[in-house]
Structure formats: structure tokens, C-alpha cells
Symmetry: C2
Subunit: 885 residues, 2 copies
């Protein structure tokens, strides 16, 4: 049996996304629904695999394509290469998961030196025919033959210059013929062959190019960022051409059935008259809003809105539609579920429930948790005094400030050194993706709401202002001009993607207000999820903020930040530098009331909810001056005293530096991450943990007296052996008992541990006997399991590891299920085997990442804990996880 | 039914070590064999447990003791408290595993103000009676009543002074009576009660004190060092006294049935006439060799040698015997298997096989692998010019040099900072154990071959010279004098424990020669063991040395040491500081022939045996100058240039320092242990691994051409993800293929990996697909599994962790079976599940530690690899492991 590689749009089988790609399946579905789709056929993703395996098209593919072209010729009553009625087709990629702009497309295929004459004659529009032909040569030359795009542009500019013209639309048929002649020469020179004239040869080459483009670099980068498997492959869609550039009753556009930025109902989109689709997507001409079509072509507009409604009801989701009007007749070229901002996703999901199209569980699944992050990004303070430079299109919401940079590479380089940038470009191309990823925000001078920059930025949740045409960008000078003002690379600007404003300098940002739809989606998510969501918060403000976002407790309160406050550092240093335990006790006694105040505040803010407080974790030298600075200072003073031996002040200073240096050197560690920290501090300096425990329970006693319900859970960090926890637990229980007696207040004393070194996971059965809860510290657990420190790895080799796919993901971003996750699962199982009610949570950064949250749900953890701003995300991700199983 | 707490020596049951303790069981066995043992009885270890549970003696214990005393009174025809024929007893501890000197003993119990008169009359020796009584009060006061020993000494010295006497043996009965009177006053003052006069009360108190002494500090320390469980408990032996101090026809001694230092046949030991046993053990008087007894008391000597022979045949092992001669009659007080040096253990084991007493498997088990280390310790070069200071007793073999120190605490403190010390003491006590452990060697001015220092040092395999009485030690001045020479703390001396020599300064050491018995034991071990033993060696000399010790290959050849050679450092630095890959390649090309030479040498030395070569592992900054030094240098130069801005040399130097500093800072890591090292280097700088691989296989090709059989195994370090190994393996295979073509020589290319981060163990099934062998790097695996770095932990908290038993052992010394071992077992199982013939080895330091070797045997590893000097130990330990299962 011969494999079927080719499927006509009207083929009676079901439209399978994986086989036909998203675009092919949709075209087939639309065709079968009787919508006005130009006829065509799809080469399946299986053909793509076979192509890559065989390193080319197989004979059976070619013969099936030839048969399908014959069918198409019959259907359209046109013929490949027929000068009378030439058949022209588009050749487009279409993967199972949409990758807009990532792969190649060829339009107007079938034109050659003869058919162009026929096209001109039949349409009575020679200018259009020669324009189409030159577009085809240009696109084919670029995509299929690999001739650099700028070489075609040079020819075009040369002809325009000698004709004294500036705009393409003023070019005549003769001008285009001149261009075509020069293009032919260029192709012959570059490829050592004439431009292929046989349409079938053109078609085979184009199909090969599209299949080949699955593996071009920008497509691979896009897939990596968007987590699309390399194994999917792309389909190729061959479709008879319709023309939006056949005069002023023709046009082309892209529209959404609802606003993809805000989610507001009503058709939303853009079109250009007398243009082909590429003109809209590429952002070269700024298009008109779709509403204007109702005036320019009222009947077409009427038909289009009806089609939109039909499609939305059919797919039960907002559609992103490409259409063309050819001499007053509407054609749909593509429809797909629309990408949307988080705000739009939420609004649309809630509206679709209200409209009865979907149920609430589906609505919850329609919102990508990662996207929520955008909504929680700060906006610009409306009270702030702003220096408005210009206004562009509000292409992707959110506000950002950063250093102006003009290249994606530079943006990436600066991001690695921690510098925030705004990437400023005339327009962006798929080659800029890494820069868009690295920048805080994107600003372009050309292109509309569906331009490349806008689409990509929205997908990434980056602020973006597009089509800001008052900007004059001089890439070579690394500067841009707005009116009289010249800004250079390194200057700071801000953008507001919600309003399109471009502002001078850095601006003050404020927290966003959340919509009622947002609250609705999260309320539904709360009904669905079984995982609790807590927050990581070290102070009452963060705790309150997180509580307002729905946090159900604090999963990690780090006490070291409390030690870093300016007024405490001298006390903390005195405690560390203490010569003996008495001196240390006296410093600790001064810290006690401060710590008590810290805990009082946070327990009050979280009244009635559990608050997991981790006792001091970092090595003590973190609180002392830097070793290298002290060494430099000592060296300087020693030399100064060689020159001025009698300087008493320096003698004094040197003596002080040397005392401090000795202590710092004594505390210095080769590998602080693996050093004297966590409960190892508690074992060697029990007085520190005693002070902290006392502060916690004195605050508890006070709050209970005031009528509150504090629920602290004391967490011992870095336990590797059950004995450590046993001793630290006894310490905490002893101090709690003391405070109970002193305060005459009764309260619970709950002690648990972090699981953050492999040994703790491996011996979780022993450790569980001493613990009332486990909290997985997956940051440290990832470091110890992989044996690399995040600080060193991210700067030195991890980027290469993820970009070259040595590791599938950055394990600090997405929990490594196979390695680290295996330890988490093992600890959960061993722990619960000993203590079935053992409470399990995660407090590493993974607690706010959706895949990791799904993992935690699957392994039966009780809660995840994340930063306050990721609490809504975690609530939603937990619901997704619950729906998945 | 009443529990039986008390067992008479002649009780007919079997002599159970666990119940009666070693001493009690032996006394029972000897009694039943008809040997001349003074009658007595044993309170069992069960009684000890009950005592600790009940916090005192129970009524049933007391009544059983009373019954047994009645039996003893009948047997000896003496009576407790009877002034006519007083019964006197000794009360001694005796645990199931011998702990010499660790617990308390009371002699002469039963004496009081009345019975002493009777004893004096009956023995016609008032001096002896009063001396015994004062000894009893003194010992009882110290051990039972807790009165400091020195207070008794003060009284004794006072009486001696006023009598104008220097030696105890010149004291008369009247002098002792004066001492006793003052002792009574001291006891009344210290305890607010008179010295107990009722023997039964004395006995109960003494039994309680001995049971209590199981938990005194020095006993606990001893058990920790010797890995004796705390749960064993001790028995108490109550035995009627015999007296070695009843005149010149009496005496007491300690003897071994063979020489415990050399293993030579023949009775070996020491005795003192007119003395009690404590005098010998405490080392206060220097005793006479046992051979002298044949002249002093020929009949006793004859009987004693017969008893020795009988005991050795009975126990099938060398015995350590305490005996007393009371007025010409021989009594045996104790026998036990003798502690012995490694040399003696080997000689004795082989001799006993020759004599038909034991089989060769038993012989192998008779030698403790840890002890072998002693034999492999270097001795003093006989060619060396030595400055002999003095000669003492050769108490424990081996030679050592170190700084003189006079206190155990100081020795321990210095050891922690890496300073080697010789602990110099008049005599050592159980309180000095930690110092003996920390010092390189022990030198005492008093005490014999069975003194505390000698016994403990031999057990630990430390060189020791005892009884070197020309030394005058002034502890207060921290100095000692030999003749006119005064040496102070901090001066360096050397000792030779094999000859007893004490030498000035540091001395050159040489390798030991191994006896034929040593070879015999190891040959037997080789027959028994299934684990292979390889060595860790980085150069041909070490490899050859290890091969001579029986190594069956190299398990770890570290290539970084090859980079540290003085002539290579500039090239290595040039390679690291290279601005681009071309510069780096050029530096690598210069290193290539050197590396090739390294591998040529080591593969040749190991001709026909496998050599596992680990590609470069440490982070590159280890080869560059120290960051702190550069910072200090920069600071100094900057200040100098402020004072002398025109100094060109300094300007030049500063510029150079700054360039270097920038690079060093760039390579600097927060946690080098978890940084850019191992295969992460190979991934980012593949040219380094390519050079190393090329060097290996070029050496292989050359050796094959020369007729050798090189068997390299290339090991990729620090793999955490299978993909790392896959890529590095492809690199190695590619270079190997290149060399095959270039050299026209065919050879195998074997690639494997270290398992040294937890993730590698957790995903060993994936990694095994790319590996031909796993080598467990348990040093790093311990660090990452526990999450502590050895460098930081050992200096900061690990000592406290092991001494307070938070951890049962230092996990860097003994493999942590529960945590790290769990990963080893998991990796072995997962790896073998995928690849049943996967070769498994261990190359961490644990590869040379006996318990860890037993673990490796149990988990089915193929080999262990250890430092050359531990190869014999590992062969023996592997045999022990095989015999155990």
C-alpha cells in the first residue's frame, strides 16, 4: 500500500492537527463547513519526517503532488504554466503547534516569463501581474534559492531611484519589468542557473524549502523558548492564490474575532487595500483598523463578521483569521485559535462561559498560568510627572524602563550582566527573538498590532510599543531622534505597553488592579485545585500582599533578611565577632526584641494562617565585611605606613582591619554553599536558634493575648541527618516550653525541616520521625543533586547547556523531574510511609512554575509556596494540574 | 523466677563473653580448666543494664552478691571483716570487648581499721598490710568517693618529706599508719562521712562505681574511637585478692605468650617483685623482663611457661596474661587475646597455621587490615646522618618527625592546622587519647612496653618510644632536657618506634621491606577475595610502587597533577588566558607531547593492566595565581604609585597585575567545588579534552608498536546528565579514530564515567547506556549528598559532629552507607539493569577503608581503588569482606 502523503482540503477524513498541522487542519475544516476558502491540499507532517529521513522528496510524494495539482487545475479551471489561465499557488508551512513567522512561505508560485503575460492580459492589470511576478522571484530567491534579501532590495531601490519614485505603489508595469529583468540576472549570477520557469519544478523546490525550514535556526530557537518538541515536524499547504492586490476593491487583512489585547467582544483587526498578506504581517505599511472596512466594503464586512461568529461557535474559541478580498470577493486563507494577552485570555474565558460556549473548567484551562505574570507587572504611577516623548501602538501591556539598545545581541549581552534594556528597532524579525527575550521591553517605529514585534512580545508577556513612527532610528549612529531630541545607546527610556506611551528616563511604577474576571477565573481555579498555595514572604507587607493575591499561608519566611537591616548589622556583627558565649548572648539579647517584632508583624498579617519560619540559614561571614576589600585595605595601609610610619590614624586603622580580617579569614569558606550554615549553625551556636525561637513564641504569646490566632511552624534548614533535626527540635521545644511558663499562654509548637540536600531525601524515613512537615527547598536540592552552584553555573556554562540542549531546561527554572524530582518523590514516599499525615510542601522558586507545580500535584504534596506575585499563577497552575489527571 | 545476676567462676554454664564480659568469661574458663585462678564471681552485663535502668543496684543483685560472698568466705576460709582471717577482694570491670585502662578497678577491698591489724598479724608483715590498706583507701577514695588523686599524693609526699624518704619501698609500717590516719581525715573532710568500715558496704559502693564508670568520659571516647557499641555494658568481677607485694618471693606481672610487637615465639613480658599489678600497668616503676623470672623464681617460671602453652592451645591465639606470685605461688588473674602490632599479627597468624592451630582463612581474619598501614609506614633511612638524643623502649613501630608538644590538647589543636607533632609526656593517661590520636608519634620518659602509651599507640599504629628515662621533662616551661641539651615546644624531633631512638630534627624516611609472612597473608587473602584492588596513581613511580604491593590496575589517574609541574604551569596558564581558540590550541599543542609522555610512562608501568585515566577535573582558576594575593598586590602598587607616580616599573607591574586580575576574577567562583569543572570544562573547552585524549592514544599506539599491552580506560568526570557523557564519549571516540588512522595501529577505546554527583546515581540507567564502566567518586559524592564541602566541614563543624555523635562517623573516612551508600547501591542496580556487564569500581578515599570495602563487596562492585600504600590493606579487607558473607 502506498502511503498517503497528500490530503486535499475537501478530503472527507477528520482534520487531524498532528498530521495536517494547525493551518492545514483548519483549512480542511473550514472547507468542509462551506466557508469561502481557496482550494488546495496539504502535504502531511509524516511527509516532513520522510523528507528529513530520505533527505529529499520521495517519488511517491512527487507523484501525489502532481495528481493533486491536476485536481486543482480541474477545480479552478486554471493550469500550471498555461499562459491563458495560469494556475498560481501559495506554499506555506503549518506545524501542529503554531509558530508564527518562524518558517518559510512562498506566494504566487506558478508565475514565469510566459504566465505573467497571460495574467496581465486576463486581469487587465499588467502592473499587478508584473508586481506579483517580481514578488514571487524575490520571495523564491530568498526562501528557496538562498539569495540574501538585501540584494533584491538594492535592485528595487536602484530602479526606484532612476525613476525618481519613492513608493512601491507608484511603480508602473514597465518599472516592474525592469526590476524583473535585473532579478533574473541576479538569480543567474548567484545560482549559476536561470530562474526556474517550470511551475512544477518551482513547486517541488518550494516544498523542499518549507520542509527544510523546520530546522532553521530561528525555528529551533522558537521551539526551545515555547517548549515545542522538535519531533512534530511541519506540514506544507499548497493553495490556489487569491489576490488582494488587484486594485482598490481588493485587499488583505488579519483579524481576531475578539480583541486579543483586552478581550473585548467585537471583531478586531487590520487590513490593507490593494496589498498582499505579507504586507500586513511584515509591518512595512501601517494598516487600517478593520472597522474601516465597514465603510470601504460594507458587504464584505457584513459577510466577514458573520463568518467570524460562525467560526467562534464552531471552534468555541476566539479565532485569528487571515483573509483576502479579491475584487470584492472574500476568501479565508487561515483560521486558528488566537494568541492573546493574559488580560484578554481571562476576559474571553469568562465571557465564553457567560455566553454558554464553554464550562468553567474549560475556561480555567484557557488561561495560561505563565501569562498571569503580565497582569501583575507594575504599571506607571499615574501621579508621576512624565516626560512624554512619543506615542505608538499599545502592542503588549505592561510598563518597563531600561537602557536604549539597538541590537538583539547587545540586549542579550547586557541582560547577562544584569542591565535592563529597551530594544529599539525599526521593525523586528524572527532573528531578533533572543533580544526580545533579553530586553525589558520592545519599541518599534514601524508595524501594527499584528507585526512581528507585537505578536512575539505579547507571547512573552513583555511590554511593547509598536509603529511609533515619530521615531527616526539611526542604527549606525546607535541613536534615534524624536523631533529635536536625540537619544543615544545607553540613555534610559520607559515604555507603557498598555497605552503606547514612550517616556524619557526611568519612571515610577505601581501595582496593577485586578479585574473581576481575573478574580472569577481564580475563584474557579480554587474550586478545582487540591494543592494549597502559600507564599514566600519575609515581612508583613509582602505577606499582606500575597494574602490579597490568595495566599493561604507563608511557606517560607527567611529570617536572614531581618538581620540585614541597617540598624541591626552592628548588633549582628557584634554577635558574630563575640569572643565568648557571654558576649554573644548579650548581643543576642539586644536582637531578641527586634526579632520578636518581626515575627509579631508577619504572624499578625497572616492571622489564622500557617507561617513557616526558617531559622537562620546563611553562613555568618555573609554578615561581615568582604574579605577582598579588607585585604586590599590592609595592603594599602601597610604601604602607606612604609611611607609615613608615624601616622597614628593609619596605625590604628591597620590594627582594626587586621583584627577584623583575622575573624573574616577564620570564617571564610571555600564553598559557602556547602559550608557552615543552616542547622550546622544551630548545632554549633545553639544560642542563635534559641534567641530566634524565643522571639517567635514571645510574639505568639503576645498575639494570643491580643486575641489573634498565630500559627507558626518552625523550620530547621539544611538537615542531612535525622540526628540534627532531633537535637534542634528538642531545642525549639524546650524554649517553647519556657515561654509557655513565662507567658502563662498555651500554644502549639510545630517543628519541621527543609529537604534540601540529597541525604535528607534518601533518609526521609528517619527524618520524618522527627518532623511534622517537610518543605522541599528545591533551589539548594537542585544545586546539590546536580553538583553545581547556581551562581557559578548560570554565569559560566548553563546557558550553553540549555541552548545546546545538553540539558532540556534550566533546572533552576523548571524542576528536573528525573533527578531532583526523583528525590522529592522518594522523600515524599518514605516520609509518608513513616508518618501518613506528614505535611509536604515546596518552597524553592519552582513553587511558582507551572510544570513544577504539576509535578508537585502529581506527587501528592500539600502545598506550593512562591513569591507573592506568583501566587495567582500558582493557584491557576494547581487547577490545571488537577484537571490534567 | 528471679534473674540470675551473679555467676561464680566455677559455674558450670558456658562462658558467654557478652554476658560475663571478656575478663569474666576467661576467668571462668581458666577456672574450669583447672588453672590457678583466685576464686571469685562475676556480676553480668545484664546487671549493668539493670543498674543503669534502675539507677542503682537492685535488692536481688545485693542479695545474690551477699550469697556469693558467703560462698567465697567458705571457699577461701576467710571472712569479710574478720580481724583473724579477713577476706579481701578485687573489684574490676570487664566488658565484652576489652577496653584496657578505661574503667575503674578497686583492689584490697575488705580492709578496714580492724582487718588491717589481722592481716598484719597473719602475714607477719605489718608494712605490707598498712601499705595495702593505704592503697585501698587511696583507690577507693579516688574511684568510688571521687576524691582527687593528687590530694592523696600530697599527703603521701608530706609524710615522705617529713621522714626524709624518697622511695615508697623505704616506708615503714609506722609511716603508712601515719598516711592512713591523714587519709581518714581527708575522706571525712571531703565526704562529710568517715571512711566506710563495713566490707559489704565497701563492696556495694565499689560495684556501683564500676558499673557507673561504663559511662565516664574516657570510656565513651575510647568506645567511639574503637567502634564499640555503647549498648554492650560491662560486667564486674569480684575476686579474692592475692598479693604480689608480700616480700621478695612475691611479684606481679603482665606477659604475652608471644612477642606482641614482633610476633616472635616465646613468652614475652614484664614483672615487678614485691609489687601489686597496678605498679606494672601504670608504668611508675620500670619492670624487669619476664626472662629474668627464670633466674629469680625458676619453678614459678617453669609453671608459667607451661600455663602459657596450655592457654594458647586452648584459645588458639596469643594470650595476654596478668599474673601474681604470692609468696612463691603462681596465680593467674586474667587472660585475653593479646593486642599486637601488625607485624606481630602477621607473624603469629602464619606461625599458628604452620603449627596447625588454625587454618589459612582464620589466619587472614586474624590480621586487622587497618593495622597493615603501620607496616607500610616509612622507617628512617639507614644512610642518614642522625643526631641521636636518647634511646627508650621500642614500644610501637614506625618512625615519625614532628614539633615537640607537651599537651594532648595542643597536639590536637596543631593537628587541625596541619602541623605534625610528637607528643612528649612523662607518662600518658586515658585522658590523653585525643592527643595520641592527633600526634605523629609519642615519646614518654617513664613506663614500659605495656604502659598506657605503648598499648594505645600500638593499637593506633602510631610510632611510640617509651620509658626514655634520660629525658627530664619540665611541663611548666614547656621544655625537656637531655644532658645539656634543652629542647622547647616547637622544636622538631624524630622518633623511631622500631628501635627506640630519639633524634634531633627531622630525619629522612625510607620505605619498609615486607616480610615473607606479610606476603603469605596477602597471598591467602588474594585466594579468598572477589573484589579486585586497583590503585590511585598519577605517575609511573606510584603506579610501579602500587603494582609491587599487588595493585591490579590503576583505578584513578588524575591528570591535573600533571599540569602542575613547574615547567608546565606557564603553558597551562597561557592556555587558560588565551584570547581565542587559536591561541588556546597553540598552547595545547605544546602540552600535548608532555601529556603523551605522562601517559606513556604510566601505561608502561601498568603494562597489561587497566589504567583508568580521568580527564581534566579541577576548575581552571586553580592553575592561576591566587586572587587574594593579586588584590593585595594591586592595592600596594596603587598606593606606591600615589607616592611615586613616575615609577615606570611599577606602572608596568600594575598593568600586568590588572590584566591577570581581570582574568582571575572572571574565572573566580563562589563555590569552586560546584563550579565550572569536570566534564563541564570538556563541554565548554572541548579542545582540552581532545588534547588529552590524543595524548592518551598516541601513547597507546607507541606502546603497542614497542610490543606492550596498554589498557587505558578514559573516564569523564562529574557527569550529571547522560547527555554530557554521550557528547564527551563521542569526542573521545572521534579522536581515538583519528589516532588509529594516523598511527596505523588498532586499539580499543573504552569510555566510562565517575559517579560523583547524586543526579548521576539517580539517573544511572540512562548514563549506563553511554558508559562502559562507572567509578564511584565517593569523596565528591559524599560532599554533594550531605551538602557539605570537606574543606569547610572538617575545619568548622565536623569534629563536633562526630565527637557529639551527631554523625556516627566522619563520612569522608567511612562511607556513609545509609545516604551515600544508598546512592552507590542504586547506581549499581540501575546501571547493571541496563548493562549487566557494566564494570563498577570505587576510587574515593573510601576505597582504602575496610568498612567501606566491605560495603563495596556486598554491593557487588568489581574493584576498589586506593592509594598505593593502602593496596595491601584493601586486599586483606576485601578478603575479610568475602569471608564475612
Amino acid at each position: 500500500m502506498t502511503t498517503n502523503w497528500v490530503y486535499r482540503f475537501d478530503n472527507p477524513g477528520s482534520a487531524d492537527n498532528m498530521l495536517l498541522g494547525g493551518k492545514g487542519a483548519n483549512l480542511a475544516e473550514m472547507t468542509k463547513a462551506g466557508l469561502p476558502v481557496p482550494p488546495g491540499f496539504t502535504l502531511s507532517t509524516s511527509a516532513c519526517h520522510a523528507f528529513h529521513e530520505e533527505n529529499g522528496l520521495t517519488d511517491s510524494m512527487v507523484s501525489q503532488v502532481e495528481l493533486s495539482i491536476a485536481w486543482l487545475e480541474e477545480k479552478t479551471e486554471k493550469k500550471f504554466g498555461d499562459p491563458q489561465r495560469p494556475l498560481l499557488v501559495s506554499v506555506r508551512s503549518g506545524a501542529p503547534i503554531s509558530m508564527p513567522g518562524m518558517m518559510d512561505t512562498v506566494l504566487n508560485l506558478g508565475l514565469n516569463d510566459e504566465t505573467v503575460v497571460g495574467l496581465a492580459r486576463n486581469t487587465q492589470n499588467p502592473r499587478f501581474a508584473y508586481d506579483s511576478y517580481r514578488r514571487f522571484i524575490q520571495m523564491f530567491g530568498d526562501v528557496v534559492l538562498g539569495i540574501p534579501h538585501y540584494k533584491f532590495e538594492q535592485i528595487l531601490d536602484g530602479v526606484k531611484d532612476s525613476a525618481g519614485l519613492h513608493e512601491d505603489q507608484h511603480m508602473t508595469a514597465e518599472h516592474w519589468q525592469e526590476v524583473i529583468a535585473q532579478y533574473h540576472k541576479l538569480v543567474s549570477k548567484e545560482t549559476k542557473q536561470a530562474f526556474p520557469q517550470r511551475p512544477m519544478e518551482q513547486l517541488k523546490l518550494a516544498i523542499e524549502a518549507v520542509f527544510g525550514s523546520w530546522n532553521n535556526q530561528r525555528a529551533r530557537v522558537y521551539r526551545r523558548i515555547n517548549k515545542i518538541p522538535d519531533s512534530l515536524g511541519t506540514a506544507v499547504n499548497v493553495q490556489s492564490m487569491v489576490f488582494g492586490n488587484m486594485g482598490h476593491d481588493s485587499g488583505t487583512g488579519v483579524a481576531f474575532t475578539r480583541n486579543p489585547s483586552t478581550g473585548e467582544p467585537g471583531v478586531f483587526g487590520e487590513y490593507l487595500t490593494n496589498a498582499q498578506g505579507e504586507d500586513v504581517v511584515a509591518g512595512i505599511r501601517t494598516p487600517k483598523p478593520i472597522s474601516q472596512l465597514s465603510q470601504e466594503m460594507p458587504q464584505v464586512y457584513q459577510q466577514f463578521t458573520e463568518v467570524c461568529d460562525l467560526l467562534e461557535r464552531h471552534y468555541k474559541d476566539v479565532q485569528d483569521i487571515e483573509f483576502t478580498v479579491e475584487q470584492g470577493k472574500l476568501y479565508l486563507l487561515q483560521t486558528r485559535n488566537a494568541k492573546r494577552t493574559a488580560q484578554a485570555a481571562i476576559r474571553i474565558a469568562v465571557d465564553l462561559v457567560d455566553e454558554g460556549l464553554i464550562d468553567y473548567k474549560t475556561a480555567v484551562q484557557r488561561v495560561d498560568p505563565e501569562q498571569l505574570d503580565q497582569l501583575l507587572h507594575p504599571g506607571i504611577d499615574p501621579q508621576a510627572h512624565l516626560q512624554l516623548l512619543a506615542t505608538g501602538l499599545p502592542a503588549s501591556p505592561g510598563a518597563a524602563s531600561g537602557m536604549v539598545t539597538f541590537s538583539a545581541d547587545e540586549a542579550e549581552r547586557l541582560a547577562r550582566t544584569g542591565v535592563k534594556t529597551i530594544l529599539v528597532r525599526t521593525e523586528t524579525t524572527p532573528e531578533d527573538i533572543h533580544g526580545i527575550l533579553a530586553a525589558e521591553g520592545i519599541l518599534t517605529s514601524r508595524g501594527g498590532m499584528t507585526s512581528h514585534a507585537a505578536v512575539v512580545a505579547r507571547g512573552m508577556g513583555k511590554p511593547c510599543v509598536c509603529g511609533c513612527d515619530t521615531l527616526q532610528i539611526h542604527e549606525r549612529d546607535k541613536s534615534f531622534r524624536i523631533g529635536d531630541l536625540v537619544l543615544k545607546e545607553g540613555d534610559t527610556v520607559s515604555i507603557d505597553g498598555a497605552t503606547g506611551r514612550v517616556l524619557l528616563g526611568e519612571v515610577p511604577l505601581i501595582e496593577p488592579k485586578l479585574s473581576s474576571e481575573f478574580e472569577q477565573i481564580l475563584a474557579w481555579a480554587d474550586e478545582i485545585r487540591s494543592l494549597d498555595v502559600r507564599t514566600n514572604a519575609d515581612n508583613p507587607e509582602d505577606a499582606a500582599k500575597a494574602r490579597s493575591f490568595g495566599a493561604e499561608g507563608v511557606g517560607l519566611c527567611r529570617t536572614e533578611h531581618m538581620f540585614m537591616a541597617a540598624d541591626r548589622v552592628p548588633l549582628v556583627q557584634a554577635m558574630i565577632l563575640a569572643a565568648d558565649i557571654e558576649e554573644r548572648q548579650s548581643a543576642l539579647e539586644k536582637l531578641l526584641p527586634m526579632q520578636e517584632g518581626d515575627f509579631y508583624g508577619i504572624l499578625k498579617a497572616m492571622d489564622g494562617l500557617p507561617v513557616t519560619i526558617r531559622l537562620l540559614d546563611p553562613p555568618l561571614h555573609e554578615f561581615l565585611p568582604n574579605l577582598e576589600e579588607l585585604i586590599a585595605k590592609q595592603a594599602q595601609l601597610q604601604v602607606r605606613l612604609q611611607y609615613e610610619p608615624q601616622n597614628h590614624q593609619w596605625q590604628q586603622e591597620l590594627a582594626e582591619v587586621q583584627v577584623l580580617l583575622a575573624k573574616v579569614k577564620n570564617l571564610h569558606e571555600f564553598n559557602p554553599m556547602l559550608g557552615h550554615r543552616g542547622c550546622r549553625l544551630g548545632m554549633t551556636f545553639p544560642e542563635i536558634y534559641e534567641m530566634q525561637t524565643r522571639a517567635i513564641y514571645q510574639a505568639v504569646a503576645q498575639l494570643i493575648k491580643e486575641g489573634f490566632h498565630p500559627l507558626p511552624e518552625v523550620m530547621i534548614p539544611l538537615v542531612g541527618h535525622a540526628e540534627e533535626l532531633r537535637r534542634m527540635r528538642r531545642l525549639v521545644e524546650r524554649v517553647a516550653a519556657e515561654v509557655r511558663v513565662e507567658s502563662q499562654v498555651d500554644f502549639l509548637c510545630i517543628v519541621g525541616t527543609m529537604i534540601e540536600v540529597p541525604r535528607a531525601a534518601l533518609t526521609a524515613d528517619e527524618i520524618a520521625q522527627e518532623a511534622e512537615f517537610f518543605s522541599f527547598g528545591t533551589n539548594d536540592l537542585t544545586q546539590t543533586t546536580f553538583g553545581f552552584s547556581r551562581d557559578d553555573a548560570e554565569g559560566k556554562f548553563l546557558l550553553q547547556y540549555t541552548s545546546e540542549k545538553i540539558l532540556p531546561e534550566n533546572p533552576f527554572a523548571v524542576l528536573d523531574a528525573k533527578g531532583v524530582g526523583q528525590l522529592v518523590a522518594m522523600a515524599a514516599e518514605k516520609g509518608r510511609a513513616v508518618k501518613p499525615n506528614l505535611k509536604l510542601g515546596i518552597c524553592g522558586e519552582h513553587g511558582g512554575e507551572k510544570e513544577s507545580i504539576a509535578f508537585c500535584h502529581e506527587k501528592g504534596l500539600n502545598y506550593v509556596s512562591c513569591s507573592p506575585f506568583r501566587v495567582p499563577l500558582a493557584r491557576l497552575a494547581a487547577a490545571h494540574a488537577a484537571l490534567k489527571i
